[in-house]
Symmetry: C2
């Protein structure tokens, strides 16, 4: 019954999957459209509208400097075709002692990779941008792979009181991680504090304890105060929702300890403003990775040098570098951010103990 | 701080999401490649290899007639650009009586939409190709949407003894549905019977009770015998796994009732062979939808006319049409398959009671 003569197979025909067709056609159509014309849109001035400056009339958000970060598709291709992707690297992963996590004797912070921290202060346990999945992607089989395993599983987490999310990119908002954390505490789930417009996304996952805040708004709950703060970034989760939900940094005040998480951000004046309004930040988590190539990344991601300036702008007591060494998102080598950070600190005459990096799974007490 | 003058936004720049870039670049690269050359590959004859005829040396599978179904990317575009997508339609959805499902007094079958049935026979409850999610897609925000809600939730299902999966396309193998069913019965999960090569996929979901079978192989378990049978189709779930896992129809023998589920299939001689080896099929579920346009769909999806021929080839006692009225995958109107089925039956002089369709959620007893 077998006829090898019929086995002519068209290479590239691996795209015949009915279910992938929708995606591919969307993309193909838009490639053609993008090839024909790039249309610039000037927003009408809505001078009299009664809304905050970063809320646009079309329902999207902009940065405090008025920019909507927006490279052209041509620039995206220019980057991706010319790029040399860095190699995956091995990093030490420390396994946190469950007893130390269960009964912290002091304020402590555990780095879970990328922008995920477990903050334990004043008897409260707070997670930032938790990500425990294999990829930072809407697809389980494609998209940036996690190079370094999470040092803790969701099961091994202590009871969590609050989860803060900086924005909706897949390396910061991971559905499986959020539902896993939520379902693990069915009787007493954490509160999920998110930037404006993101509550709906969490509700669609079945999470009923989401609270959304605009910049400078605070939510006091269970002995903690969580404040959304402006940073310079953008949002997008599907094809057509660019900047429709807000991005933020977070100030977490728990038991008098003030932890600032800068989310994802380019360098901006926002940090001076935050430092002036909150002059007593104990610890700031500041992104130091995903910066190359600068011509493409500068608006959305600060460099280690800029991160040092942010530390100075904030006038924080201590800082920890984050957003590096976990996924390969951009062109710098995976281990380069802390090296550049050390150089930048030295250039400014700042002792490295003030702004350091942690090992994956390392617990630091304050 | 807001400067409307900076608000120049590039249309089409909505693709800047770092996490979507990987997908888009893959697609863009392959579009370019496909535009340059289409390379035909002739498989070397592996005449002496000690393997079944449908197992190829490169690890992929072919149909019993030797074909690997494989339209060109050009044909895909030709279809998608010329197509008029049919409108969504409303269908009656019946809510099955939970008591009838909990205590069936006879062999009964409930249609859960598309290719999903709940078979209850000999005290066993078997699900075929269960799909309870909003989309048949690897993406939660794009891909074919479910037009008609599932008549039952996973929570409302009775205890399930076995789940059979025909192949790995997203409208037949839905991860969330499978994990939902598995996790609902932690102490006594169903067995998941899948075609060769698919066990690994289920294991990656955390499902530990998967059994994989090649065509004509049977698995006897818990008073049921489940047999994988050849049909004419193909498989693909990611970009590069075309035909790397097998597709199958299933014969479920429970309490002496013989239920044949044809999976997804074009018309082929396989059904005569199945009818000759299993001359006493009580009920056959046969696909009648997703057939237009014929030039593109013929190899993979039979028409209602061909479905009637399959019914005759099988010599089954009764048949039910499936694979219609739930998702919009192809070009025919959503309600056309049963109308064409009725015409085809009349043309052959077959009474409509022998080969009918069910309403969503309808329970039929035998």
């Amino acid at each position: 019954m077998k006829s090898e003569g019929n086995l002519e197979t068209l290479k590239f025909s691996c795209f015949e999957n009915l279910q992938l067709k929708t995606i591919l056609l969307l993309v193909a159509s838009l490639l053609v459209a993008a090839g024909c014309a790039a249309v610039f849109v000037n927003e009408p001035d809505a001078a009299m509208a009664d809304r905050p400056a970063h809320h646009r009339a079309d329902g999207t958000f902009v940065n405090t400097d008025g920019t909507a970060i927006s490279k052209s598709f041509t620039d995206l291709l220019r980057w991706r075709w010319s790029r040399t992707e860095p190699d995956a690297m091995a990093f030490d992963v420390m396994e946190p002692d469950p007893e130390v996590l269960a009964q912290p004797v002091a304020t402590q912070v555990t780095w879970l990779g990328h922008s995920a921290f477990l903050l334990q202060a004043g008897g409260k346990n707070v997670l930032t941008d938790p990500h425990f999945s294999e990829r930072a992607s809407p697809l389980s089989f494609a998209g940036p792979e996690r190079i370094v395993v999470p040092p803790l599983s969701i099961e091994a987490l202590p009871h969590i009181h609050a989860v803060v999310i900086s924005h909706n990119h897949y390396d910061h908002l991971d559905e499986a991680s959020l539902t896993g954390i939520y379902n693990k505490q069915p009787d007493n789930p954490p509160v999920f504090v998110v930037p404006l417009g993101l509550k709906e996304e969490l509700v669609s996952y079945g999470i009923k304890t989401a609270v959304e805040l605009d910049w400078w708004q605070s939510y006091t709950h269970d002995g903690m105060t969580l404040t959304a703060l402006p940073v310079k970034h953008w949002s997008q989760r599907t094809f057509f929702d660019r900047n429709r939900t807000l991005w933020a940094g977070w100030l977490v005040d728990a038991g008098g300890f003030r932890f600032f998480h800068a989310g994802d951000s380019g360098y901006s004046d926002d940090f001076k403003e935050i430092g002036s309004r909150y002059p007593d930040i104990d610890l700031a988590a500041i992104p130091i990775g995903a910066y190359d190539p600068r011509w493409f990344m500068k608006d959305a991601h600060m460099s280690p040098e800029e991160a040092v300036q942010v530390y100075l702008d904030l006038n924080a007591r201590k800082a920890i570098g984050m957003h590096w060494g976990t996924f390969i998102l951009t062109d710098e080598e995976m281990d380069e951010p802390p090296l550049k950070l050390a150089d930048a600190l030295e250039a400014k005459g700042i002792d490295g103990s003030h702004f350091s990096v942690m090992k994956h799974g390392e617990v630091v007490q304050f």
